[in-house]
Amino acid sequence: MDSSTPKTVSSASANPSPSRPVSGFQFQILMYRVQRYTTLVFAHLFCLMVAAACLFPLIWMVSSSLKTQSTIFSDMSIWVKHPHWENYYWAWTRGNFSRYFFNSLFYTAVVVVGVIVISSLAAYAFSRLKFPGRNVLFILLISTMMIPIPGSFIALYVLLVKLSLIDTRLGYVLPQINGGLALGIFLLKTFFDKLPQDLEDAARIDGCNKFQVYLHVAMPLAKPAVAVLAVFNALAVWNEYLLANLVLSNRTLMPLQRGLMVFQGSHITQYPLLMAGIAISIVPILTLYFLMQRYIVAGITAGALKM
């Protein structure tokens, strides 16, 4: 199955000699090919089964979102003959999903921009500028990635109450920006460390100050790392639930994940609308995923390397 053997196989089979009886060597090649193709078929069958298992719940969810309350439990077909697209309209309007959707969009955008701006500034300073306390501060900031503190959300809640940030957009956004900083600073600092210094020196000689060098020289070069950060934080914020549950109780402020739970709690029987709401909630994240998936793979590997 490796890349080197097929060449010899194909060159041997390019000159078939049907008149002569199959020699031992040719028989071996034949057996080898049979074995190769059966393994390949089984490998694909297995992978396709797993892929189907990945996709099926989603396909099922979409097809259920097009049925009605009365047919949803009796009609088990995947392909819906009379799709009720109006379910999406009802979920969007009466189910309040438009509100949740735009809230999620808002939180995601703000956190992503916040993380990128704040962590790139800090990462640039840690990589390029010299100041007392540089290493201590860097280790301090990065240490939050290493230590699991599952209870810290209790104290965070108490703190947000004290700062009267509870049930506000700011109170939901700031902790999440903070949550993205450690990985952001780490990723960008390693990236800046690898950039050649010459360009920045040239910019400094031309009269740019530190901030201008950061903005016009370093940041444009860091685009790939910034993209990884953006995708990762977008996924995390879009899918966040625990903090939204603790911080936000006003329905007009809730993001999608929280909205889905609220909808499920109050309309327990409206399955088609719930499924439509779920479909609405995953469209943006799947779109982002399909567009940016090479950055995601890069990010998982980078994120894993941090350990």
């Binding site: 490796d2 990945c54 088990m76 599952p150 810290s152 739970m261």
Partner: protein, 296 residues
């Protein structure tokens, strides 16, 4: 220090100031506050806080059976994730690592579940496992296995395994991507040289792949443990800890102590205990990783 030099230094600090301030307010202060609160009995609202020494920890360690049930439940899910989920991820990684067509297709599809939120995954699977209208029961009835049908997530016997299945469905793609990245970092020449020398597939796997992948295996298992022990979203969107305490996990217990019974100090004590346990487990795994590295 001259004025221009000082100003230069101050502008440098402006670069790191936003990050430091956010870190202090939203990471460091809460972190310290957890330890402070853990020795108090406090309902979260009143100004009165009663200092109770280490009583909260004593209660958690020796009297709170529901806490240890929740640890055991999370442990069961973690063991299943470590074995079944990571085994599946490795098998898929080994298959896709070979020269097969559609490598990218598989990679994209397998990573779809990890991209979805725990809430979405839980809500969809909730319905698949549902007792009366569930898809799984419907399928079982169709193939004449009607006697096996049950309310999978409401039955004390199956609830935790149902959760584990959902969690593994969501998680294996993540393990797959990391393991595949590790496999592809192994130089091809090594395998080919061994094959030319007549080594069997199993020999190559056990003598080349496994030793070289050891660090990746340990990484994946540490992250699996940390991720699975802290499972929450899937629980809250499916069973919410029920039936009884059968699917309670540490995070739901911490939240129950905090929001449910308004014992903030006790919730913090649970959080600290949980943090220490997680830290201990990952330290043991890192030790094991270093220890095993000596043999390769």
């Amino acid at each position: 220090m001259t004025w221009p030099r000082l100003r230069d230094l101050l502008t440098t600090y402006l670069f790191v100031a936003p990050a430091i301030i956010l870190f202090l307010v939203f990471s460091l202060i809460p972190f310290l506050k957890v330890f402070q609160l853990s020795v108090f009995e406090w309902d979260g609202i009143s100004s009165h806080m009663q200092f109770v020494w280490l009583n909260n920890f004593r209660t958690a360690l020796f009297r709170d059976t529901s806490w240890w049930i929740s640890m055991r439940n999370a442990g069961v899910i973690t063991l299943l994730a470590l074995s079944v989920q990571n085994f599946l991820a490795l098998v898929l990684g080994l298959i896709v690592d070979r020269e097969i067509k559609g490598k990218n297709f598989y990679r994209v599809v397998f990573y779809i579940p990890p991209v979805l939120s725990g809430i979405v995954v839980g809500l969809v699977w909730n319905w698949i496992f549902d007792g009366s209208h569930g898809l799984l029961n419907h399928a079982l009835t169709t193939i004449h296995l009607g006697q096996w049908t049950r309310a999978w997530l409401a039955d004390p016997k199956t609830a935790i395994y149902g959760i584990a299945v959902i969690h593994m469905w969501k998680g294996f793609g993540w393990g797959f991507v990391i393991l595949l990245a590790g496999l592809q970092a192994i130089p091809r020449e090594l395998n080919e040289a061994a094959r030319v020398d007549g080594a069997s597939e199993w020999y190559i796997f056990s003598r080349i792949t496994v030793p070289l992948m050891m660090p990746v295996f340990f990484l994946v298992s540490i992250l699996t443990v940390l991720g699975t022990m802290q499972i929450y979203d899937i629980i809250v969107s499916t069973t919410n800890g029920g039936p009884g305490y059968h699917t309670e996990v540490p995070i739901t217990r911490i939240l129950a102590a905090m929001v449910g019974s308004s014992r903030f100090g006790y919730a913090c004590a649970l959080g600290i205990l949980f943090g220490i346990i997680l830290l201990a487990v990952s330290m043991v795994q890192m030790r094991l990783s270093k220890w095993s590295a000596r043999f390769s």
